[in-house]
């Protein structure tokens, strides 16, 4: 349905709106996390929500990540639909037993007897000068654990629709929000009502016949800028945002690679073992491989912890200029 209200929300506002809708729709949804109440969460995502829903549904917790994720797993098993906010994705490490060994495996391991309708929302990414323990992009960790669905929204409209689906989903969903997107309005208006976006459907942001770019999270936005700029030079780019990296919808990627013959994949996290390698592998082992006229190019974070100083931090992850250079080179060098 076309949006007529032209609501240019930020990611924080869109996520808040989705949580608010879900909590109004269903009694069993609640939010739990450190400082999510009066503080509104470290990034203000749940700002004012405690006033609306009370302290029993917007629950402030002590600093106990393992405990709160475990309690969310338990509440989910017992019939609730918890949303947990972990203040920084880096601290999912504290809760990893409950995420990886419990939530992800319970449905399968117990023969389908139980399931875990849990959403774990958490901010990730660099660019804030918060250094190595507050800046990681960990989407790859979660994508490597069967039993978790992993959502990486790149814009407010998607964040709202995807989060609504994540809350409805009967399985554990890891929802990774980029900090730098919280405060800026997206390119597209956010639909006012309840419009769910299904998990597991890639989005094609723009079509072009020269190059396919597949990017995740904030790299989608950076790639978009590059695509717009290069179109003025006659380089036409198809940009695909998988949105959910697990399960992964490869169909539009194959389709596009078969048309363009060139593929550039971009992620913020380190390249070694990174999610984008999965995209490359799937293209390589499919018929799409035969359509390639250029070697596949990968842009990712350096294989280092995120450094503090701004000039170092910038160097550690792909920037718009890096994407531009890579895109131009692939198209110019492989004709």
């Amino acid at each position: 349905m076309a949006d007529t209200t032209n609501r240019m929300l930020t990611m924080a506002e869109a996520v808040r709106e989705a949580m608010t809708i879900a909590m109004n729709e269903r009694e069993d949804v609640f939010l739990m996390g450190e400082d999510v109440g009066i503080y509104g969460g470290a990034f203000g995502v749940s700002s004012e929500m405690q006033n609306k829903f009370g302290a029993d549904r917007i629950i402030d917790t002590p600093i106990s990540e393992l405990g709160i994720v475990g309690a969310a797993v338990g509440a989910a098993l017992a019939g609730m639909r918890p949303i947990v906010e972990i203040q920084f994705s880096d601290f999912t490490a504290q809760a990893m037993d409950q995420i990886a060994n419990q939530a992800a495996k319970i449905h399968f391991m117990l023969g389908g007897a139980l399931h875990v309708p849990l959403v774990l929302r958490t901010p990730q990414g660099s660019g804030t000068g918060a250094a190595a323990q507050h800046s990681q992009v960990l989407e790859t960790w979660f994508a490597n654990i069967p039993g978790l669905k992993v959502v990486v929204p790149s814009n407010p409209a998607d964040a709202k629709g995807l989060l609504l689906s994540a809350i409805d989903d009967p399985n554990p969903v890891i929802f990774l929000e980029h900090k730098l997107l919280y405060k800026i309005p997206g390119r597209d208006a956010v639909p006012e009502g309840v419009e769910r976006i299904p998990l597991g459907v890639s989005k094609v942001l723009r079509h072009g016949s020269d190059l396919t770019i597949v990017a995740t999270g904030i790299m989608v936005n950076k790639s978009y800028e590059v695509a717009e700029k290069l179109s003025a030079e006659g380089i036409n780019i198809t940009l695909i945002d998988p949105r959910t990296i697990s399960p992964l919808d490869m169909d539009p990627i194959h389709e596009s690679v078969q048309q363009t013959g060139r593929l550039l994949v971009v992620q913020e996290g380190p390249s070694h073992g990174g999610f984008i390698n999965e995209v490359i592998a799937r293209v390589s082992e499919s018929a799409s491989f035969g359509s390639l006229i250029a070697p596949i190019k990968r842009l990712a974070g350096m294989n280092i912890p995120i450094p503090y100083a701004p000039q170092l931090e910038r160097a550690a992850v792909p920037q718009i200029e890096d994407i531009e250079v890579a895109a131009r080179e692939i198209v110019k060098n492989w004709r």
């Binding site: 009066i38 503080y39 470290a42 504290q94 323990q133 294989n303 280092i304 701004p310 000039q311 160097a315």
Partner: protein, 333 residues
Amino acid sequence: MTTIQLLKGHPLSSKEHASHALLYMWKIRKFEEAVEDLFGRGMMHGTMHLSIGQEASPTGMCLALDLADQITSTHRGHGHCIAKGADLTRMIAELLGKKIGYCGGRGGSMHIADVETGNLGANGVVGGGIPIAVGAGLASKLQKKGTVAVSFFGDGAMNEGAFHEAANLAAIWKLPVIFFCENNHYGMSSSTEKAFAIEKLADRGLGYGIPGVTVDGNNVVEVYEAAEAAVARARNGEGPTIIEAITYRWKGHSRSDKNLYRTKEEIEEWKHKDPLPRFISIVLEKGLLSQDEIDAVQQQAHDQIVHAVNEAVKAESAEPSGLLDAVFKKVGA
């Protein structure tokens, strides 16, 4: 490059000790004010966690330590670092992303470590340093070094699993460890009333067989006396102690804090319990230092900070080249 002039001992034991304790508290205060200023002027990026109002705790604790004793610190770690004897220029330089900074610009405010003064590092992870201090205590015991390891952490950190597992290890192995909890009443927005079902956080040790003391964390004398006793216990092989220092942070948790979870009156009330005038009045009363001498110490702290900022601002910026080589220590090097 560091000239470490730590003077151990009771802050009221001599003129020198009194002015030393005062100097360190003032250095911390003025350092934090300088950081706030650099931040306000856009010269520093990222975030900052200031310890203004809490200066007596790290100062009192570190007055009971030898240079070889080790500490682990927190996101709010500038005070711990300074109290243990760190070089102010290298600290500011780190915050400004300079090559001569303690971490070469790679760590920033939350990750300053200083091997020379036994500082094993601040930490961005709440509770992250607690088991590490226990490990340092274990190494001290195994190597018969006689050193003590102190873990500084906040009230909030006491609710992390890391604290509980670490406390038990230290207790059963009787390690030379001090769990120094700076109870400033809040973990970000969450008050200790909401986050704990007990009144004295020092009681958390009971379940592990660790004695705990609660002291006025804004009184450097009281903090020192508890610290000295805990250090003696640790060195005697009697095991760990929990020290809970009651204090208060004047500033927001970090730069994004709107202070919605506490009242202006509460903040004002605690400003009247400022650890600096507190100690000064004791010192004056005891006749250990004159007002002129006190003013001179304050001036000295001021000069040291100004010097550090000037040097750090002039220093060369850290460069991205070589980052890849920095991940691992070279084997055999």
